[in-house]
Amino acid sequence: MNYVPKFLNRESRATPAERWLVGLSAALIHVTRRSRVHPYQWGRVAGVRYLEQSITMHYTSGVSAGLRAGGGYHIFSRDWMQVPQEALEKTEGALVTEAKAGSAEAFEDLVNRYERKIYRLALRLTGNPQDAEDVLQETFLKAFEHLPDFRQDSRFYTWLVRIAVNEGLMKLRKRRSDKSEPMEDGVDDDGQVMPREFRDWKPNPEQLMSQEEMETLLMNAANSLPAGLRTVFFLRDVEELSTEETAEALNLTAGAVKARLFRARMRLREELAKVLKRE
Protein backbone atom coordinates (compact mmCIF):
# COMPACT_ATOMS: atom_id res chain seq x y z
CA MET A 1 0.00 0.00 0.00
CA ASN A 2 1.29 3.38 -0.92
CA TYR A 3 2.29 5.61 1.88
CA VAL A 4 0.03 8.63 2.18
CA PRO A 5 1.30 11.39 4.39
CA LYS A 6 -1.06 11.96 7.23
CA PHE A 7 -1.67 15.59 6.32
CA LEU A 8 -2.90 14.52 2.85
CA ASN A 9 -5.31 12.01 4.28
CA ARG A 10 -8.67 13.75 4.60
CA GLU A 11 -9.71 11.38 7.32
CA SER A 12 -6.95 12.35 9.65
CA ARG A 13 -6.36 15.64 11.36
CA ALA A 14 -3.13 17.41 10.56
CA THR A 15 -1.07 18.66 13.41
CA PRO A 16 -0.26 22.40 13.52
CA ALA A 17 3.33 21.62 12.56
CA GLU A 18 2.18 19.66 9.50
CA ARG A 19 -0.21 22.42 8.47
CA TRP A 20 2.62 24.93 8.82
CA LEU A 21 4.87 22.73 6.68
CA VAL A 22 2.25 22.42 3.94
CA GLY A 23 1.68 26.16 3.99
CA LEU A 24 5.37 26.91 3.72
CA SER A 25 5.80 24.44 0.83
CA ALA A 26 2.85 25.89 -1.04
CA ALA A 27 4.21 29.41 -0.57
CA LEU A 28 7.64 28.32 -1.79
CA ILE A 29 6.17 26.64 -4.85
CA HIS A 30 4.03 29.68 -5.59
CA VAL A 31 6.94 32.11 -5.32
CA THR A 32 9.20 29.91 -7.40
CA ARG A 33 6.65 29.35 -10.14
CA ARG A 34 5.90 33.05 -10.29
CA SER A 35 9.52 34.08 -10.23
CA ARG A 36 11.18 35.25 -13.39
CA VAL A 37 14.55 34.78 -11.77
CA HIS A 38 16.26 31.41 -11.72
CA PRO A 39 16.90 30.29 -8.13
CA TYR A 40 20.59 30.16 -8.99
CA GLN A 41 20.49 33.90 -9.40
CA TRP A 42 18.49 34.77 -6.32
CA GLY A 43 21.61 35.37 -4.29
CA ARG A 44 22.79 37.82 -6.87
CA VAL A 45 19.63 39.81 -7.36
CA ALA A 46 21.02 42.88 -5.66
CA GLY A 47 24.39 42.62 -7.34
CA VAL A 48 25.79 44.28 -10.40
CA ARG A 49 26.69 40.90 -11.81
CA TYR A 50 23.03 39.93 -11.88
CA LEU A 51 22.16 43.10 -13.74
CA GLU A 52 24.93 42.50 -16.23
CA GLN A 53 23.75 38.95 -16.84
CA SER A 54 20.16 40.06 -17.18
CA ILE A 55 21.16 42.56 -19.82
CA THR A 56 23.19 39.92 -21.63
CA MET A 57 20.26 37.51 -21.45
CA HIS A 58 17.84 40.18 -22.59
CA TYR A 59 19.76 41.00 -25.71
CA THR A 60 21.48 37.78 -26.64
CA SER A 61 19.33 34.91 -25.60
CA GLY A 62 16.09 33.37 -26.62
CA VAL A 63 15.61 32.70 -22.91
CA SER A 64 14.72 36.34 -22.46
CA ALA A 65 11.91 36.10 -24.99
CA GLY A 66 10.35 33.34 -22.92
CA LEU A 67 10.78 35.28 -19.73
CA ARG A 68 9.34 38.45 -21.16
CA ALA A 69 6.44 36.49 -22.61
CA GLY A 70 5.43 35.61 -19.10
CA GLY A 71 7.36 32.42 -18.61
CA GLY A 72 9.49 31.69 -15.63
CA TYR A 73 11.35 28.82 -14.17
CA HIS A 74 8.92 26.13 -13.19
CA ILE A 75 9.71 24.28 -10.02
CA PHE A 76 8.71 20.96 -11.59
CA SER A 77 10.46 21.50 -14.92
CA ARG A 78 13.97 20.42 -15.76
CA ASP A 79 14.96 24.08 -15.82
CA TRP A 80 15.07 23.87 -12.06
CA MET A 81 18.07 21.62 -12.34
CA GLN A 82 19.79 23.59 -15.07
CA VAL A 83 21.86 26.67 -14.50
CA PRO A 84 21.35 29.02 -17.45
CA GLN A 85 24.31 29.00 -19.80
CA GLU A 86 24.47 32.78 -19.69
CA ALA A 87 25.02 32.69 -15.95
CA LEU A 88 28.10 30.56 -16.45
CA GLU A 89 29.60 32.52 -19.32
CA LYS A 90 32.49 34.79 -18.64
CA THR A 91 31.95 38.47 -19.16
CA GLU A 92 33.22 40.08 -22.31
CA GLY A 93 35.77 42.04 -20.28
CA ALA A 94 37.21 38.91 -18.66
CA LEU A 95 37.56 37.18 -22.03
CA VAL A 96 39.25 40.21 -23.56
CA THR A 97 41.71 40.37 -20.67
CA GLU A 98 42.55 36.68 -21.11
CA ALA A 99 42.83 37.04 -24.88
CA LYS A 100 45.14 40.04 -24.47
CA ALA A 101 47.28 37.89 -22.18
CA GLY A 102 47.67 35.42 -25.06
CA SER A 103 44.76 32.99 -24.68
CA ALA A 104 43.66 31.86 -28.14
CA GLU A 105 40.82 29.98 -26.48
CA ALA A 106 39.45 33.17 -24.92
CA PHE A 107 39.70 34.95 -28.27
CA GLU A 108 37.83 32.09 -29.94
CA ASP A 109 35.10 32.42 -27.28
CA LEU A 110 34.76 36.07 -28.27
CA VAL A 111 34.59 35.07 -31.93
CA ASN A 112 31.87 32.51 -31.15
CA ARG A 113 29.94 35.15 -29.31
CA TYR A 114 29.93 37.76 -32.07
CA GLU A 115 30.59 36.02 -35.42
CA ARG A 116 26.92 35.77 -36.43
CA LYS A 117 26.22 39.40 -35.66
CA ILE A 118 29.31 40.59 -37.53
CA TYR A 119 28.43 38.38 -40.51
CA ARG A 120 24.90 39.78 -40.62
CA LEU A 121 26.19 43.33 -40.38
CA ALA A 122 28.73 42.67 -43.14
CA LEU A 123 26.08 41.12 -45.37
CA ARG A 124 23.74 44.03 -44.82
CA LEU A 125 26.44 46.58 -45.49
CA THR A 126 27.86 44.97 -48.61
CA GLY A 127 24.74 43.22 -49.90
CA ASN A 128 26.93 40.39 -51.15
CA PRO A 129 27.66 37.02 -49.42
CA GLN A 130 31.23 36.75 -50.74
CA ASP A 131 32.11 40.28 -49.64
CA ALA A 132 30.42 39.60 -46.30
CA GLU A 133 32.60 36.54 -45.71
CA ASP A 134 35.73 38.52 -46.60
CA VAL A 135 34.69 41.28 -44.19
CA LEU A 136 33.96 38.73 -41.46
CA GLN A 137 37.40 37.12 -41.75
CA GLU A 138 39.27 40.41 -42.05
CA THR A 139 37.43 41.79 -39.02
CA PHE A 140 38.42 38.97 -36.68
CA LEU A 141 41.93 38.56 -38.08
CA LYS A 142 42.57 42.29 -37.64
CA ALA A 143 40.99 42.25 -34.20
CA PHE A 144 43.37 39.44 -33.16
CA GLU A 145 46.34 41.26 -34.66
CA HIS A 146 45.52 44.59 -33.01
CA LEU A 147 44.20 43.22 -29.74
CA PRO A 148 47.19 44.61 -27.79
CA ASP A 149 46.12 48.10 -28.97
CA PHE A 150 42.55 47.68 -27.69
CA ARG A 151 42.43 49.75 -24.50
CA GLN A 152 39.13 48.35 -23.15
CA ASP A 153 37.68 51.82 -22.66
CA SER A 154 34.83 50.88 -24.99
CA ARG A 155 32.95 47.64 -25.51
CA PHE A 156 34.85 44.99 -27.45
CA TYR A 157 31.82 44.52 -29.67
CA THR A 158 31.77 48.23 -30.57
CA TRP A 159 35.43 47.97 -31.49
CA LEU A 160 34.69 44.94 -33.69
CA VAL A 161 31.83 46.78 -35.36
CA ARG A 162 34.14 49.68 -36.13
CA ILE A 163 36.62 47.33 -37.82
CA ALA A 164 33.82 45.57 -39.72
CA VAL A 165 32.35 48.87 -40.91
CA ASN A 166 35.76 50.05 -42.15
CA GLU A 167 36.29 46.77 -43.98
CA GLY A 168 32.78 46.88 -45.43
CA LEU A 169 33.15 50.47 -46.63
CA MET A 170 36.48 49.60 -48.22
CA LYS A 171 34.76 46.83 -50.16
CA LEU A 172 32.08 49.25 -51.28
CA ARG A 173 34.62 51.86 -52.33
CA LYS A 174 36.46 49.26 -54.37
CA ARG A 175 33.21 48.19 -55.97
CA ARG A 176 32.35 51.83 -56.66
CA SER A 177 35.66 52.41 -58.40
CA ASP A 178 35.02 49.23 -60.42
CA LYS A 179 31.44 50.00 -61.36
CA SER A 180 30.87 53.67 -60.50
CA GLU A 181 28.30 52.83 -57.86
CA PRO A 182 27.14 55.83 -55.80
CA MET A 183 28.12 55.68 -52.15
CA GLU A 184 27.55 59.01 -50.47
CA ASP A 185 25.44 60.73 -53.13
CA GLY A 186 22.49 62.47 -51.54
CA VAL A 187 23.46 61.44 -48.01
CA ASP A 188 23.60 64.90 -46.55
CA ASP A 189 21.77 67.00 -49.11
CA ASP A 190 19.39 69.52 -47.67
CA GLY A 191 16.35 68.28 -49.56
CA GLN A 192 13.59 67.21 -47.19
CA VAL A 193 12.87 63.49 -46.96
CA MET A 194 9.16 63.45 -46.42
CA PRO A 195 6.83 60.44 -46.50
CA ARG A 196 4.80 60.07 -49.67
CA GLU A 197 3.10 56.75 -48.97
CA PHE A 198 0.38 56.89 -46.33
CA ARG A 199 -1.39 53.58 -46.89
CA ASP A 200 -1.08 51.20 -43.95
CA TRP A 201 0.82 47.95 -44.41
CA LYS A 202 -0.56 44.45 -44.52
CA PRO A 203 -0.56 42.92 -41.05
CA ASN A 204 2.35 40.58 -40.21
CA PRO A 205 4.08 40.87 -43.59
CA GLU A 206 6.81 38.48 -42.43
CA GLN A 207 4.19 35.72 -42.39
CA LEU A 208 3.03 36.45 -45.91
CA MET A 209 6.28 35.62 -47.62
CA SER A 210 9.07 33.10 -47.30
CA GLN A 211 12.22 33.91 -45.35
CA GLU A 212 14.15 34.08 -48.61
CA GLU A 213 11.65 36.51 -50.16
CA MET A 214 11.77 38.69 -47.05
CA GLU A 215 15.58 38.71 -47.05
CA THR A 216 15.62 39.71 -50.72
CA LEU A 217 13.09 42.47 -50.12
CA LEU A 218 15.03 43.89 -47.15
CA MET A 219 18.36 43.59 -48.94
CA ASN A 220 17.11 45.33 -52.08
CA ALA A 221 15.53 48.13 -50.07
CA ALA A 222 18.74 48.66 -48.09
CA ASN A 223 20.86 48.56 -51.23
CA SER A 224 18.74 51.31 -52.76
CA LEU A 225 20.13 53.67 -50.08
CA PRO A 226 23.56 55.29 -50.27
CA ALA A 227 26.01 53.34 -48.09
CA GLY A 228 26.38 56.34 -45.78
CA LEU A 229 22.69 56.15 -44.87
CA ARG A 230 22.25 52.42 -44.54
CA THR A 231 25.40 52.08 -42.42
CA VAL A 232 23.99 54.52 -39.87
CA PHE A 233 20.64 52.70 -39.90
CA PHE A 234 22.22 49.29 -39.28
CA LEU A 235 24.51 50.51 -36.53
CA ARG A 236 21.83 52.46 -34.67
CA ASP A 237 18.63 50.51 -35.21
CA VAL A 238 19.89 46.96 -35.72
CA GLU A 239 23.16 46.77 -33.80
CA GLU A 240 21.77 49.15 -31.19
CA LEU A 241 24.92 51.22 -30.93
CA SER A 242 24.32 54.57 -29.27
CA THR A 243 24.37 57.78 -31.28
CA GLU A 244 27.79 58.56 -29.82
CA GLU A 245 29.20 55.09 -30.58
CA THR A 246 27.89 55.31 -34.15
CA ALA A 247 29.34 58.79 -34.56
CA GLU A 248 32.70 57.57 -33.30
CA ALA A 249 32.68 54.48 -35.54
CA LEU A 250 31.89 56.54 -38.65
CA ASN A 251 33.76 59.75 -37.82
CA LEU A 252 30.57 61.77 -37.87
CA THR A 253 29.02 64.25 -35.49
CA ALA A 254 26.09 63.11 -33.33
CA GLY A 255 23.88 65.55 -35.25
CA ALA A 256 24.86 64.00 -38.58
CA VAL A 257 24.08 60.52 -37.23
CA LYS A 258 20.60 61.62 -36.17
CA ALA A 259 19.90 63.35 -39.46
CA ARG A 260 21.08 60.36 -41.48
CA LEU A 261 19.09 57.96 -39.34
CA PHE A 262 15.92 59.94 -39.95
CA ARG A 263 16.53 59.96 -43.70
CA ALA A 264 17.40 56.25 -43.76
CA ARG A 265 14.25 55.25 -41.86
CA MET A 266 12.02 57.36 -44.08
CA ARG A 267 13.57 56.06 -47.29
CA LEU A 268 13.46 52.42 -46.19
CA ARG A 269 9.83 52.90 -45.23
CA GLU A 270 9.02 54.23 -48.68
CA GLU A 271 10.91 51.39 -50.38
CA LEU A 272 9.29 48.64 -48.32
CA ALA A 273 5.85 50.23 -48.65
CA LYS A 274 5.97 49.55 -52.40
CA VAL A 275 5.61 45.85 -51.59
CA LEU A 276 4.08 45.77 -48.12
CA LYS A 277 1.28 48.34 -48.37
CA ARG A 278 -2.34 47.25 -48.40
CA GLU A 279 -3.95 47.09 -51.82
Partner: protein
Protein backbone atom coordinates in the same frame (compact mmCIF):
# COMPACT_ATOMS: atom_id res chain seq x y z
CA UNK B 1 3.28 73.29 -25.86
CA UNK B 2 1.70 73.96 -29.25
CA UNK B 3 0.20 71.25 -31.43
CA UNK B 4 2.47 69.77 -34.10
CA UNK B 5 2.14 70.07 -37.86
CA UNK B 6 2.54 66.85 -39.86
CA UNK B 7 5.97 67.97 -41.05
CA UNK B 8 7.10 68.46 -37.46
CA UNK B 9 5.50 65.18 -36.42
CA UNK B 10 7.59 63.21 -38.95
CA UNK B 11 10.79 64.54 -37.36
CA UNK B 12 9.51 63.85 -33.87
CA UNK B 13 8.59 60.27 -34.80
CA UNK B 14 12.24 59.55 -35.58
CA UNK B 15 13.32 61.25 -32.35
CA UNK B 16 10.72 59.18 -30.50
CA UNK B 17 12.37 55.96 -31.68
CA UNK B 18 15.76 57.40 -30.70
CA UNK B 19 14.45 57.91 -27.17
CA UNK B 20 15.16 61.60 -27.52
CA UNK B 21 11.70 63.02 -26.80
CA UNK B 22 10.77 64.74 -23.57
CA UNK B 23 7.58 63.62 -21.83
CA UNK B 24 5.88 66.82 -22.96
CA UNK B 25 6.77 66.23 -26.59
CA UNK B 26 5.71 62.60 -26.38
CA UNK B 27 2.31 63.72 -25.17
CA UNK B 28 1.99 66.32 -27.94
CA UNK B 29 3.04 63.71 -30.51
CA UNK B 30 0.52 61.21 -29.14
CA UNK B 31 -2.21 63.83 -29.40
CA UNK B 32 -1.27 64.49 -33.02
CA UNK B 33 -1.22 60.76 -33.83
CA UNK B 34 -4.71 60.32 -32.37
CA UNK B 35 -6.03 62.93 -34.78
CA UNK B 36 -3.94 62.28 -37.90
CA UNK B 37 -4.27 58.93 -39.66
CA UNK B 38 -1.40 59.62 -42.07
CA UNK B 39 1.09 60.32 -39.29
CA UNK B 40 -0.15 57.29 -37.36
CA UNK B 41 0.65 55.12 -40.38
CA UNK B 42 4.13 56.66 -40.60
CA UNK B 43 4.62 56.07 -36.88
CA UNK B 44 3.53 52.40 -37.03
CA UNK B 45 5.32 51.50 -40.24
CA UNK B 46 8.58 53.15 -39.12
CA UNK B 47 8.52 50.83 -36.12
CA UNK B 48 7.79 47.92 -38.44
CA UNK B 49 10.82 48.81 -40.61
CA UNK B 50 13.05 48.56 -37.56
CA UNK B 51 11.41 45.32 -36.40
CA UNK B 52 11.80 43.65 -39.80
CA UNK B 53 15.50 44.46 -40.04
CA UNK B 54 16.08 43.35 -36.44
CA UNK B 55 14.67 39.88 -37.04
CA UNK B 56 17.51 37.65 -35.86
CA UNK B 57 16.29 34.70 -37.95
CA UNK B 58 17.12 36.46 -41.20
CA UNK B 59 20.51 36.32 -42.89
CA UNK B 60 21.89 33.30 -40.98
CA UNK B 61 25.60 32.59 -41.28
CA UNK B 62 26.21 29.41 -43.34
CA UNK B 63 28.20 26.77 -41.43
CA UNK B 64 30.86 26.64 -44.17
CA UNK B 65 31.49 30.34 -43.66
CA UNK B 66 31.98 29.71 -39.95
CA UNK B 67 34.30 26.76 -40.63
CA UNK B 68 36.46 28.82 -42.97
CA UNK B 69 36.64 31.66 -40.43
CA UNK B 70 37.82 29.35 -37.66
CA UNK B 71 40.34 27.66 -39.95
CA UNK B 72 41.78 31.06 -40.85
CA UNK B 73 41.92 32.03 -37.18
CA UNK B 74 43.74 28.83 -36.18
CA UNK B 75 46.34 29.43 -38.85
CA UNK B 76 46.72 32.96 -37.51
CA UNK B 77 47.06 31.67 -33.92
CA UNK B 78 49.78 29.27 -35.07
CA UNK B 79 51.56 32.00 -36.99
CA UNK B 80 51.08 30.21 -40.29
CA UNK B 81 50.44 32.13 -43.53
CA UNK B 82 46.72 32.47 -44.31
Amino acid sequence: MNALTCKEAFQEISKYYDGDLSEDLKRVLQEHLCKCGHCKVVFDTTRKVIELYCDGKLFPMPSVVRDRLHQALRRKFEGKPL
